[in-house]
């Protein structure tokens, strides 16, 4: 028991503490609900691509809405803190709204726009309410502002560097005109901005109500107590990890422009007592294509959450024992002018890499490598039924890595996407001129192991009109890794199919490749990595996998050393023992 905690405990009685704790989470949840209900574009409701929080007067996170995507973890702090520097002299007035997507601080694609407002009590800023949301278009060369082949940030859209769009409750019409003029969908964008502002205003009101009811000192005492508790929990979690320095590396396929040039990613994690340092010094330098970011803080915090305190509410206190090292000049600390539209490709693999690094220290708590992709390749064109532009959207579904005591889940979104949902086939076929030919599991794609990786999917589509194909696949060269002798997952491949002709490989990354009406494309996505030697897997589980078609009878024999009778699927015990002996002797030690 240290002294500061005892102090705050005496200030915050246990009953008020519990009521305030629940009330703070309820405020950010209500802000979220408000944003989802009032946003104009469907991105907030469907993809939950937002980050909503209350922060204190120094920009430290009081509470963050738990139902956004996991990608954004306590990542509004930097924006508030930078704003405090910029407006150090001018200060903030009640009713101000500050808008920013400036890449130097935000460090993500320019679609991600933060709006926030000071919460003022008795003439003093006591906290901030903040909402960052993905805007559907902020200009640049591509519809949607996310080109796959941009070479600088300027081709991706406009930046709004910490501008006050409202001063003391009054809109600055000139700034609003600037924003409106720079989007292809001005109504949607302005509508989304108003939704963000309305959610901030709601957060202000609710926080002020709380202060009025319990007193500012009591509420702040509760917040400090919540932070201290979070720190205690986070420190206890890190203390359980053996001290040491842990490293891991992998490569991304390419940056979308230089297709033959892989991008090396490398992380180092140092555990010392109850502190964790995540070090990105070894990452690739910035790249020419749009895979850059300044998102090292976000990445580190998401990985830290996965490793230590998955269930705990997100607050400043939960990250006090996390140190992030990322010198300027890496792919995660790129110049603010570097292209960033597909920054999340590097983000997802880097988070998985941090887990991989620490795996030897906590093998019971880490899953093997996952597919680590963000979106399926998409198809766009003009819908002949309406004459309007259409574009398919589908999150990538792939295999999750095996767990230390069980198989990995099949066909799920990546570890930064959470509750993003795949659009029903029946809806896709209604709203776009495509026909889905197959939507199922990608057999034999899960990395073999004592515990098998999850399976990827097969998505086969036919275009019912001339269209364009955009390749968006990653991590096809460095497969989702296995642990402890488990094999990697099978990587994504994609083919064009014409009846009566052999399949042709489809490009994994490309921009606007023409398709003819009737063309068919089939994507087979990555499975997750396995854990443990495949020939130590319970033969009964292998038989069950073959029965269900997750694993073919040949793979059962070749990979798992389980020989089954083709008709009855009974296990041939003798042949299995013999086959497993061979596999075991081949394994290099």
């Amino acid at each position: 028991m240290n002294t500061p905690r005892e102090q705050t405990l005496t200030q915050a009685d246990p009953i008020t503490l519990e009521v305030v704790r629940n009330a703070l989470v309820a405020i950010v949840m209500e802000m979220t609900d408000n944003l989802i209900r009032t946003a104009y574009s469907p991105i907030a409701a469907e993809i939950k691509d937002f980050s909503i929080g209350l922060l204190d007067a120094n920009g430290d996170s009081i509470a963050q809405a738990p139902n956004g995507v996991p990608m954004f973890c306590a990542d509004l702090n930097a924006t508030i803190k930078r704003g405090l520097e910029i407006y150090a002299e001018e200060g903030f007035a009640d009713g101000d709204i500050i808008l920013s997507n400036d890449t130097e601080t935000n460090g993500q694609h320019v679609n991600n726009m933060a709006a926030y407002s000071p919460i003022v009590a008795n003439g003093e800023v006591v906290a901030f309410a903040a909402v960052r949301s993905h805007w559907i278009d902020v200009g640049g060369v591509a519809v949607g502002s996310m080109p796959g082949n941009s070479r600088d940030i300027f081709s991706e859209g406009i930046q709004i560097p910490f501008m006050k769009v409202y001063r003391a409750g009054k809109p600055d019409e000139s700034v609003l005109r600037l924003i409106k003029t720079n989007s292809r969908f001005p109504e949607l964008v302005m509508g989304d901005m108003r939704a963000q502002i309305s959610a901030c205003r709601l957060g202000e009101q609710r926080f002020l109500d709380l202060i009025k009811r319990y007193g500012r000192d009591a509420v702040m005492a509760c917040i400090h107590r919540i932070w201290d508790e979070a720190e205690t929990v986070a420190r206890a979690a890190v203390t359980k990890i053996p001290d040491g320095t842990y490293e891991a590396a992998c490569v991304l396929d390419n940056d979308g422009l230089n297709l033959d040039k892989p991008i090396p990613l490398k992380v180092k994690v140092v555990i010392a007592g109850s502190d964790m340092t995540i070090d990105f010094s070894g990452m690739s330098p910035p790249v020419q294509g749009p895979f850059n970011s300044r998102a090292s803080g976000t990445i580190a915090r998401v990985a830290f959450k996965y490793l230590t305190t998955p269930q705990m509410a997100i607050t400043e206190g939960g990250f006090r024992n996390l140190k992030i090292v990322c010198p300027e000049g890496t792919i995660l600390s790129a110049p603010p002018t570097a292209p960033m539209s597909w920054f999340n490709m590097a983000v997802v693999s880097t988070i998985d890499l941090v887990l991989r690094a620490v795996q030897p220290a906590m093998p019971d708590a880490i899953t093997a490598g996952s597919a680590d992709n963000i979106g399926m390749s998409h198809i766009s064109g003009i819908d002949p039924r309406t004459g309007r532009v259409f574009q398919t959207f589908a999150p990538f579904l792939g295999g999750w890595g095996a767990r230390p005591n069980g198989d990995g889940p099949s066909a799920v979104v990546s570890l930064v996407q959470g509750d993003v949902r795949f659009m029903p086939i029946e809806v896709q076929e209604t709203v776009t001129p495509i026909r889905v030919l197959e939507f199922g599991l990608h057999n034999d794609s899960g990395g073999p192991g004592r515990y098998r990786g999850g399976l990827g999917i097969v998505l086969g589509r036919e275009v019912l009109t001339d269209a364009e194909f955009h390749g968006r696949f990653e991590r096809t060269k460095d497969a989702p890794w296995g642990f402890a002798g488990g094999k990697p997952g099978v990587v994504t491949h994609s083919v064009f199919r014409h009846e009566g002709q052999p399949d042709r490989p489809a490009p994994l990354k490309c921009e606007g490749m023409p398709l003819k009406k009737g063309d068919q494309e089939f994507s087979y996505t990555s499975g997750g990595g396995g854990i443990g030697l495949p020939w130590t897997r319970d033969p009964e589980r292998v038989r069950n996998d073959v029965l269900n078609g997750y694993v073919s009878i040949d793979a059962a024999r070749e990979q798992y050393g389980v020989v089954l009778n083709k008709a009855s699927l009974d296990i041939d015990e003798t042949a299995t023992v013999a086959r497993r002996r061979i596999l075991n002797s081949k394994e290099p030690t």
Binding site: S410, V436, F439
Partner: protein, 687 residues
């Protein structure tokens, strides 16, 4: 004189409740018997025996039960197969691919109820507009039937792509397979729900098949047992939608009954709100492990079109209209505990009915919300459950002292009051979620409180969020059984029909509407509903082109005409404006689903009028009760002593059989002509 009765029976985890209503004299009969999980009809018949109602005098028997939801949660059902369009057998397993538990490396999708080797495919294909792209390979069904026989399937679900637009392939497949597989429970997705989204529809169909055979025999058994005892009336089952259906339909469509228990209470609350002329009502039901609340506007509880059995994160979707209920893990049995950092928590862990609160003396050692109420004198320890059970107050005191008061440096009373403050604030957050957070002003609402704990906590919750009026109805502790008697027959029919709206030519959409209406009317007529008692309302799910959100917009009339369509569009704009704070007049809109709700009105029992007091005042005793500001000698009333227009100013306690109503300091309670306790909340007080 022989009376006719309407009888509602609600099977709960511990007790089976029966409420009988004498249709001649308006007399209400209540009985309770232990539930008999192995043979549920036993508890029902025991209730009937205790009730002194001759079973032959029952005109209608209503039944709500957890049998369906338990079968799903415990995964005790039929060995089930699934037949899909070729290329899509994995839809059930893939789901929507989401992982709704952020930062959890070990999140698992819910395990499908049909394993992959029992999911079969057949060649056939229908387009989104219902056109046949590939005919059904009828010969291929022989293979499916052979496999089903080999696997000894007891049930089979059929779900083809776009069958909401054209059911013919599912129908053909069912016909052929039923001929090949006599005795197997076969259901198609299109007979259950004609709405798009193949995963949700498959899940609905599979769960219906999974529980089908067992529920079919459960209902048949009830029919048999009651018939043998002389029952000759109509037997109805409560649906999640808040309406009832006949036993014959319930046997085919058991998934419609998943939430049949909790919903009945909300129907009762809606009815009482209407009797009192309250436009905006919050139904609040606090039981042993959870508290539930629903928003009711103009006598209609909100109904949602998708429901997740077992919750959104780990559960299974059902495309079944379900009364929206927000639930929070706070009930009488919720445990008060300290986490490993010493912070005080209440729930969601619960002592349940076993071992129950410490004061029951059945082995509970951790203090609960009920123990806190007993320690503060709010619950009368000498008269718990009408005096059937004596309470061990010293044991409750010891538990509160040791686990909460001493470690936190509080007195036992302060600890107990703190536990109730936290419990009330948790429940208030749930009520906030359905009102303030949805743009509904609680200052215009009436909170109707029932369940064992509702009347005890309602005033504090209402005060917390600014609800001016609380109503405690007749028989609050068995209000679900009572609510069933107030339900109508109801069938929700839907067809996904995606078109620009308004459209030039309305013939096609009117064709769909009249088909749905005919279907609804037919279902009601086959349940012996007279033409005059049938009401159909038509609704369109509309959205702005390009958006995902739809809003169910009432059409007003029976058909859509080019002339009224703009008015429907305007009504949609207005709904959108209310819900989202803005609307668009210049963006084209689309219809997505056509809905018809067919209601068969039933005569409702009227609450017997409460006599007015001719002279004097109700009997009152006193005992020490702590309402939050320390123990004080407080007036105690017996509910049966109260008469119409009696007024009580709080602090006061009103006790009845198995419920206690707390009237807070400054609150004013009044007895209505129907016998309800109406409490006007004192705004200034924050106990």
């Amino acid at each position: 004189m022989t009376s006719k009765f309407a009888v509602g029976v609600d099977i709960g985890g511990t007790f089976t409740d029966l409420v009988g209503f004498d249709l001649g004299t308006s007399r209400i009969v209540v009985t309770k018997a232990p539930s008999t999980p192995r043979e549920l009809s036993g508890g029902i018949m025991e209730c009937v025996r205790k009730s002194d109602i001759a079973i032959a005098d029952m005109e209608t028997l209503f039944h709500g039960s957890t049998v369906v939801i338990n079968a799903i949660i415990e995964r005790k059902g039929a060995k089930t197969g699934l037949l899909t369009t070729r290329g899509f057998r994995d839809v059930l397993e893939i789901g929507r691919g989401n992982r709704p538990a952020n930062y959890d490396l070990f999140y698992d999708k819910p395990l499908p109820f049909v394993p992959r080797y029992l999911r079969f495919e057949v060649t056939e294909r229908i387009a989104p507009d219902g056109a046949v792209i590939a005919p059904l390979d009828v010969a291929g069904l022989e293979t499916v039937a052979r496999a089903a026989r080999e696997q000894q399937l007891e049930a089979l679900a059929i779900c083809f792509l776009h069958s909401y637009a054209n059911e013919s392939h599912e129908e053909q497949a069912r016909e052929r397979l039923q001929a090949l597989l006599p005795g197997v429970f076969i259901c198609t997705s299109s007979e259950l729900v004609r709405e798009w989204r193949e995963f949700e529809r498959s899940s609905t169909t599979v769960l219906n098949a999974f529980v089908g055979p067992n529920v079919e025999s459960y209902i048949a058994r009830l029919e048999e047992v009651t018939a043998q005892a002389g029952f000759g009336g109509q037997f109805y089952l409560m649906q999640s939608s808040g309406g009832v259906m006949t036993a014959a339909r319930a046997k085919r469509y058991p998934v419609a009954m998943v939430e049949s228990g909790p919903v009945a209470g909300m129907i009762g609350a809606a009815h009482i709100g209407t009797l009192l002329g309250a436009r905006l009502v919050i139904g609040f039901d606090m039981g042993g492990t959870t508290a539930k609340c629903s928003l009711i506007e103009d006598g209609e509880p909100k109904v949602s079109q998708v429901y997740y059995v077992g919750g959104y994160v780990h559960g299974y979707p059902l495309q079944v209209p379900t009364t929206e209920v927000v639930e929070v893990g706070t009930g009488g049995g919720s445990l008060a505990w300290r986490d490993n950092l010493g912070a005080l928590k209440v729930g969601p862990r619960s002592a349940g009915s076993e071992p129950g609160p410490v004061c029951i003396g059945a082995g509970g050692t951790e203090p609960t919300v009920t123990d806190a109420n007993v320690l503060l004198g709010r619950i009368n320890a000498a008269r718990y459950l009408g005096g059937e059970m004596s309470l061990d107050v010293p044991a409750a005191r010891r538990a509160m002292e040791e686990s909460i008061a001493k470690p936190l440096g509080l007195s036992v009373e302060a600890a107990a009051a703190g536990v109730l403050t936290i419990a009330n604030s948790n429940m208030a957050l749930a009520v906030r979620a359905i009102t303030i957070e949805k743009g509904v002003d609680p200052r215009e609402a009436t909170l109707i409180a029932f369940g064992g704990g509702g009347p005890l906590h309602a005033a504090a919750i209402a005060r917390d969020i600014g609800i001016p009026r609380v109503v405690v109805p007749t028989l609050p502790a068995c209000f679900s059984a009572l609510g069933m008697l107030l339900a109508d027959l109801r069938h929700d029919l839907v067809r996904t029909f995606v078109r620009p709206f308004p459209m030039q030519d309305c013939a096609e959409i009117n064709g769909v509407i009249s088909e749905l209406r005919l279907d609804g009317v037919e279902r009601l007529k086959s349940a012996d509903v007279a033409e005059a008692d049938i009401e159909c309302s038509v609704h369109l799910d509309l959205r702005y082109a390009g958006q995902q959100w739809t809003l169910t917009t009432p059409v007003g009339g029976d058909t859509v005409s080019a002339k009224d369509a703009p008015a429907i569009r305007t009504a949609f704009n207005a709904l959108y404006e209310t819900r989202f704070g803005h609307s668009f007049t210049n963006i084209p809109s689309e219809v997505v689903n056509v809905r018809v709700i067919a209601i068969g009105r039933r005569p409702k029992p009227g609450f017997p009028p409460l006599a007015a007091r001719k002279s004097g005042a109700p009997a009152v005793t006193h005992r020490s009760v702590n309402m939050g500001a320390g123990p004080a000698n407080t007036p105690i009333y017996r509910r049966e002593d109260l008469l119409c227009a009696d007024r009580i100013t709080g602090p006061a306690v009103i006790e009845e059989g198995s419920a206690t109503t707390l009237v807070g300091p400054g609150d004013r309670a009044e007895l209505s002509e129907h016998g309800f306790i109406v409490i006007h909340i004192n705004k200034g007080n924050s106990a």
